[in-house]
């Protein structure tokens, strides 16, 4: 069996600071493997048994290799980086196009295609369903648990008001929203072994994609404007060292 995990590299949003003008200080913020992607990796590794292969894939600039290295450290067997200047500025549709082209060319036999539910840098979790449709596969979003059921799989989906369990046919797209918090840490031997592993870089030509199906040209949305909206409110500071007085003050506000 082969599990393909699609991951994303994101800036560490917990470290992003805002300067006095409300602009984001993005410079110098380290990039990390997105936490939801990590959950997807963990799910794939949990499903793996003897002889199975876990493949990590990401699309991004050359620096995104570090996210794939992290995946290899956690336990992936191979890693692919889809990187090309032509991929820049891709929206949901163009991203999904490149990822599905990868699956068609390099991972058509994949047993499961796993995604994180959504990336923490403001991405929206729409890519998995678009990939599923482009490949004509079934989709299982908001999965909290994926388990083996004989040769097939079974996943638990949480829709907020309903929890349902579905059987998952081979080749389906699964987006994972929760992972095991108490996961094991990669061993030192693994760290050393990963240094000798290669990350395969694939460009637009390798995926057999035309110039007009990827990146900016392949996108169906354009950003018209973006503005900072950090609203500065009056922000009166009130001393609340005396709970009784503070409570009395709040009661007046109510």
């Amino acid at each position: 069996m082969r599990f393909v995990v699609f991951v994303k590299q994101v800036p560490d949003t917990t470290l992003i600071e805002v300067d006095e003008n409300g602009n984001l200080r993005r410079a110098g913020v380290p990039s990390i493997l997105d936490p939801c992607s990590e959950h997807a990796m963990e799910t794939a590794l949990g499903l793996r048994s003897e002889g199975d292969v876990v493949t990590a894939v990401t699309m991004g600039p050359p620096q995104a290799e570090s996210a794939l290295r992290r995946c290899l450290e956690i336990g992936a067997d191979e890693a692919f980086l889809l990187s090309d200047r032509a991929f820049a500025g891709a929206d949901v549709r163009a991203t999904a196009r490149a990822l599905s082209a990868f699956v068609e060319r390099f991972a058509g036999d994949a047993t499961l295609l796993l995604f994180g539910r959504q990336a923490s840098d403001g991405d929206t979790g729409q890519v998995p369903a678009e990939v599923a449709e482009m490949l004509g596969r079934e989709q299982f979003c908001y999965s909290t648990k994926v388990e083996r059921a004989g040769d097939a799989f079974r996943c638990t989906q949480d829709y907020g008001d309903e929890i349902r369990v579905c059987s998952v046919p081979s080749g389906s797209v699964v987006s994972v929203s929760e992972g095991d918090v108490n996961r094991r840490l990669p061993s030192i031997e693994r760290f050393m072994a990963v240094r000798n592993m290669t990350v395969t870089v694939l460009g637009r030509i390798d995926l057999g994609l035309g110039n007009f199906s990827v990146g900016m040209n392949g996108s169906r949305t354009r950003i018209v404007e973006s503005r900072n909206v950090r609203s500065v409110r009056s922000g009166t500071v009130i001393d609340g060292s005396d709970p009784v007085g503070a409570a009395a003050h709040l009661r007046e506000v109510l």
């Binding site: 369903a129 990939v131 309903e162 404007e225 900072n228 506000v253």
Partner: protein, 355 residues
């Protein structure tokens, strides 16, 4: 087999890509003729098990009417069977002109592949300029599937919509709510999912009259559902609360019952930050923020919440924000109208007692 509504077998709708009966030519999308709005009508079951239209659908219909003054056509697409009949007048009264009902008992439950297949066919048939979904878990699963089928642009999680001629300008928060990006689709139909609760729920504005068209589903891809359990959340919906008492990592576990009692006295609801969901003290349905819910209360009382950007993204629509915190310079101070510097637990207890 053929189409079940035709007996002589002349109808080819079983065949993929075949035309519906009576249709001479398949309309092309992306041409100037495209006009009007199409909305997926999501339904839910209330506490008694009766089916009802979700509030965000009415919000969308109200917003459409406000944007174009009721000039363009509005289509609704609803999935289910006979149980939907009582909903028609309400939908017409809120602005649906033509309602497509995908009439299939099986589709009373959510099957994303079959829903997307039927929606795409109806969109090709009706040629709307704009297709809107609520950004609920199901809407967010369904919309990209439809968009990929139609090769259309999709903007997720919009908080504001505006019309410029035939173009829809969609505004959504990015980077944890620090940036609002306005996005335009470059092709038709223009698709968006819109966060529930950002527009007011309108009153019905006309007598309930309209047309319903029954649509036969031809999609055979159905999920194999082993079990399904409806969650009955004990608490109220935090997105609809007028007063929210929100707890963060700075409060102790004992304070939760105090906050709940305070909420009862004030007629409010208790919500929380992500940290408390991670600790397992609260269900995720109570979480405010980017990975939780966007709330719009008149008054937001933040007890012991430091205010990470992801949390602040969820309270941008709140009327008045009062933070009760040890640290006057915590992240929440950037959006708070008032910061009470002190022990959140003690003030919470004192406030509860004094009311």
């Amino acid at each position: 087999m053929g189409c079940e509504s035709c007996t002589d077998g002349s109808c080819q709708s079983e065949e993929k890509g075949g035309l519906p009966p009576g249709m001479l030519q398949r309309y092309r999308l992306g041409v100037d003729r495209s006009d009007g709005f199409l909305v997926w009508i999501e339904t839910e079951r209330d506490a008694e098990g009766n089916i009802r239209v979700c509030d965000h659908v009415k919000e969308l219909l109200g917003k459409i009417r406000q944007m174009d003054g009721g000039r363009s056509r509005v289509w609704g697409v609803i999935f289910g069977h006979l149980e939907l009949k009582p909903l028609y007048p309400e939908l017409y009264a809120h602005g649906v002109d033509t309602l497509y009902e995908v009439h299939d008992r099986v589709l009373s439950t959510f099957h994303p592949e079959a829903y997307a297949d039927n929606l795409a066919q109806i969109i090709v048939r009706t040629e709307p300029a704009v297709v809107l979904f609520g950004a609920t878990p199901r809407g967010r699963e369904l919309a990209p599937r439809v968009a990929a089928r139609l090769d259309a642009g999709l903007t997720a999680d919009c908080t504001e919509l505006a019309l410029s001629d035939r173009d829809l300008l969609m505004t959504r928060p990015a980077f944890g709510g620090n940036v609002m990006a306005t996005i335009r689709c470059t092709s038709f139909p223009q698709m968006a999912t819109v966060r529930p609760g950002v527009f007011p729920v309108p009153e019905p504005f006309r007598e309930g009259k309209g047309t319903v068209i029954y649509w036969q589903s031809t999609c055979r891809i159905l999920k194999d559902i082993i079990s399904s359990e409806i969650k009955r959340d004990s608490g109220e919906d935090i997105t609809k609360a007028r007063i929210l008492i929100s707890l963060g990592a700075g409060v102790k576990r004992e304070s939760i019952s105090v906050a709940e009692s305070l909420a009862r006295k004030l007629g409010g609801t208790v919500s929380c930050s992500r940290k408390l969901v991670e600790k397992g003290w609260f269900n995720q349905s109570r979480q405010v923020g980017q990975s939780g819910k966007t709330v719009a209360p008149d008054l937001y009382l933040a007890f012991g919440i430091s205010g990470a950007v992801q949390h602040l993204a969820g309270i941008g629509l709140a009327g008045r924000v009062i933070a009760i915190n040890r640290d006057a310079n915590a992240g929440i101070s950037e959006v708070a109208d008032e910061i009470v510097v002190g022990d959140a637990n003690a003030i919470l207890r004192e406030l509860e007692r004094s009311l």
